[in-house]
Amino acid sequence: GIQVEQSPPDLILQEGANSTLRCNFSDSVNNLQWFHQNPWGQLINLFYIPSGTKQNGRLSATTVATERYSLLYISSSQTTDSGVYFCAVERTGSARQLTFGSGTQLTVLP
């Protein structure tokens, strides 16, 4: 099956700092989603981004499908950004099956 690798596994920031999270995948995809799992365990959709660049407030994401990676940018981080960020991909032809990376644990300190 498809391999999804996220880096870094852990990230600690001071409030106000910027960060970049990376997701590498091993095969062609027709879906890539970024999720934030907050401290209460809820999975929140951040981006649906199989290709291209999108922005939503302080967050933006870029997927370069031909090079098999995606980046999630968080600017001016806030303590509420803490949690685990997951990248999930659907390999082309896999019948909408999402394969998740192992996540990046982000801690934003006040």
Binding site: N30, N31, F35, G41, N45
Partner: protein
């Protein structure tokens, strides 16, 4: 609110019991899923149903059986619970064709199952 909902949120039970988790979506989606998140937070798909038909069944023990009475509901029944079944179970749904974002998945709040 339009959403994916699950009940119960927490489930604590003894080994050997049979339990069910219910999922409902009011988004009008045509495909629903069950995922399992283990203690290391790794998420893995278990089942997928499209218009009440099973389309994905990963290597899950046959003690787990999904049941979809209609497009808006996908329940998970677990027989003879084992200690290793303790995990968080997430339900999800996606809209389906012919929409452009047919495969974007939305997740429920999760059900934390603890087997004692």
């Amino acid at each position: 609110d339009t959403a994916v909902s699950q009940t119960p949120k927490y489930l604590v039970t003894q080994m050997g019991n049979d339990k069910s988790i219910k999922c409902e979506q009011n988004l009008g989606h045509d495909t629903m899923y069950w995922y399992k998140q283990d203690s290391k937070k790794f998420l893995k798909i278990m089942f997928s149903y499209n218009n009440k038909e099973l389309i994905i069944n990963e290597t899950v023990p046959n003690r787990f059986s999904p049941k979809s009475p209609d497009k808006a509901h996908l329940n998970l029944h677990i027989n003879s619970l084992e200690l290793g079944d303790s995990a968080v179970y997430f339900c999800a749904s996606s809209q389906g064709y012919p929409t452009s974002r047919y495969n974007e998945q939305f997740f429920g709040p999760g059900t934390r199952l603890t087997v004692l």
